[in-house]
Amino acid sequence: MPTKTVPDRNDGNFLQEVQQASEQNLTRCYQCGNCTAGCPLSFAYDIPVNKLMRMLQAGEKHAVLSSRAIWLCASCETCTTRCPNEIDVARIMDVLRHMARREGLVAEAPVRHLWDAFLTSVEKHGRVFEVGMMANFVKRTGRFWTDADLAPVALGKGKLGLRPHCIEHQDEVQRIFARFREQA
C-alpha cells in the first residue's frame, strides 16, 4: 500500500464541494462506523460507507467517485436515520453519484444505464413506460437475459402494459428536462 503524503491529497476542494452540494457537515464524522454497520449492502461494497466518509474528509476525489459502492447504494436511508452526527449520508451518496457522472467515473455502468433508461422514458411519455424502459435498458447494456423469466408472469398478470401511459402535456415534462439541461 503506497504511503500517502498529508496534506498533499488529490483535491483539497473536493470536501468543500461535497459539503456544499449536500448541505451536510462532513467534518462531524468521527468514524463510528454506524453507517457501515447498518448498510444492507455493505457486503457488496468495494469501499465501506464509513471509509468513503473518511476519504471525503481526506479529499480523495478520484478514488471516491470511481467506487462501485456509490452506485450500489439503494437509498434506503438507514445510514441517515442512525448517524449519531446527524449527517444525511444517503444525500451525500446522491451527490457523489451526481459528481461521478459529471466526471465520467461511473463504476457500475448498468445502474447508470437503468436510470438513464428510466429518465428517458419519463422524458418521452411523462411517466415511466415499464416495457419501453426495459427494452431501452437491454439495448444499452446488451443484457437481453434481464428478468426474461419474469416477463411472461408479469404479462400474464396484466401488470405490464404494452403501450405507454402518456400524459396529456408531455411537452411540459420535456421542457423541464430541456431547461434543466440548459441550466446544468
Partner: protein, 299 residues
C-alpha cells in the same frame, strides 16, 4: 365517517406493475370516506433515477405535480408509494429554502407554493380513522391469519422528512392489521431494505436481501407478508421464484398489499381487490381467513 378530499398521486407503478395496489387503495379509501381526486395529468416523480442523477431535476419533476395539486381544493396530497412519497416530501421540504425554490420554479415555469401537506395513504387512513373505528366496520375478520408487517425502508425514513410513525419500529401497519383481526408477529425486518431498486441490475444482491426477509417471515411462522410499498411487494412476490432458485429455498409466501387485506376484511370481494394479480398464489392463505381450522387440517 366524514369525507375529506385529497389530491391523489398514484405513481407510475400503480398504472402497471402494482395495479392491484392502486385499485385496492382506491377501494379502501372510498369505504373509509377518504375521497381521492387524481392529480390531473400528473407526471412521474423521477423516483430514485432522478434524485440519484440530480436533485434539481428530481425536484422539478415533483414540483410540476405539486403545482397542479395546489390548484385543486384539497386537504393535501397523498400517495400509496413510499418512493414517490419521499420524493414529494423531500422536494416540498427543500423548496422552503428560497434559493432552491426559485431555481425549481424557473425550471417548472409555474408558481409552486410547496405548502400542501403530503402524506402516505397509510398515514391518511390511520389519521382519518382510528384502528378501533376501522375494526367496527370489519365484516370478514382476518382471524387465523398470521402476518408479518413489512413497511419497507423509506415509508418512515429519514424521520426528519417523513415525520410519520417510528423510524425503527413503526407500528401503524401492526395496529391496522390487528384491528382487522389478523395476528401480527414481531418482525425484526420491518424497515430493512429488500434491495428492490437494484433488481434489474444486480439480482444477486436482491436475492440476498429479500431472501433474508422471506426466511425470517417463514421462520416466525407467518402465513403472509403485508407490504406497503410497490417496489418491495413486486420484489418479494414476483421475484420470489428467483430468490428461491438463488438461495435454494422453497418459500411460498404470499405478499399482500395492506390495502388488499383491509379491503377483504371490510367485505370487498377478492376479485375487486385483484388477488389474482399476485404472483405467489394466495388462495390457500385466503382460505385460512374463512376457516381458521383449515390450517390445522393442512398440517
Amino acid at each position: 365517517m366524514s369525507v375529506t378530499q385529497y389530491a391523489y398521486y398514484p405513481g407510475c407503478s400503480g398504472m402497471g406493475s402494482s395495479i392491484e395496489y392502486d385499485i385496492s387503495t382506491r377501494a379502501l379509501c372510498k369505504s373509509l370516506g377518504v375521497e381521492l381526486l387524481d392529480i390531473p395529468d400528473w407526471n412521474c416523480c423521477g423516483s430514485t433515477p432522478a434524485h440519484a442523477s440530480d436533485h434539481l431535476l428530481s425536484a422539478s419533476l415533483v414540483a410540476r405535480n405539486l403545482a397542479i395539486a395546489e390548484s385543486m381544493d384539497v386537504a393535501g396530497i397523498i400517495t400509496p408509494c413510499p418512493s414517490c412519497l419521499k420524493n414529494l416530501k423531500t422536494t416540498s421540504l427543500r423548496m422552503q429554502r428560497k434559493a432552491f425554490h426559485d431555481k425549481v420554479e424557473s425550471i417548472v415555469e409555474r408558481p409552486v407554493r410547496a405548502d400542501l401537506p403530503i402524506k402516505s395513504v397509510l398515514q391518511t387512513v390511520l389519521e382519518h380513522c382510528e384502528p378501533e373505528a376501522i375494526a367496527s366496520h370489519v365484516s370478514r375478520p382476518l382471524k387465523g391469519l398470521k402476518v408479518v408487517p413489512y413497511y419497507g425502508c423509506i415509508m418512515n425514513r429519514p424521520p426528519d422528512v417523513m415525520t410519520f410513525d417510528d423510524p425503527e419500529n413503526p407500528t401503524s401497519l401492526d395496529r391496522l392489521m390487528t384491528a382487522l383481526g389478523a395476528e401480527v408477529l414481531p418482525f425484526p425486518h420491518k424497515v430493512d431494505c429488500c434491495g428492490a431498486s437494484l433488481g434489474l441490475v444486480r439480482r444477486d444482491l436482491v436475492t440476498t436481501l429479500s431472501g433474508r426477509i422471506l426466511d425470517t417471515a417463514a421462520a416466525l411462522g407467518a402465513h403472509a407478508i403485508v407490504a406497503a410499498c410497490p417496489m418491495c411487494q413486486m420484489n418479494l412476490d414476483m421475484r420470489q421464484s428467483q430468490i428461491n432458485r438463488a438461495n435454494h429455498t422453497r418459500h411460498h409466501m404470499p405478499v399482500f398489499y395492506y390495502t388488499q387485506l383491509a379491503g377483504l376484511a371490510l367485505g370487498q370481494s377478492e376479485s375487486c381487490l385483484c388477488m389474482d394479480k399476485l404472483c405467489v398464489n394466495p388462495a390457500d392463505t385466503l382460505r385460512l381467513v374463512d376457516c381458521p381450522a383449515a390450517e390445522e387440517r393442512t398440517r
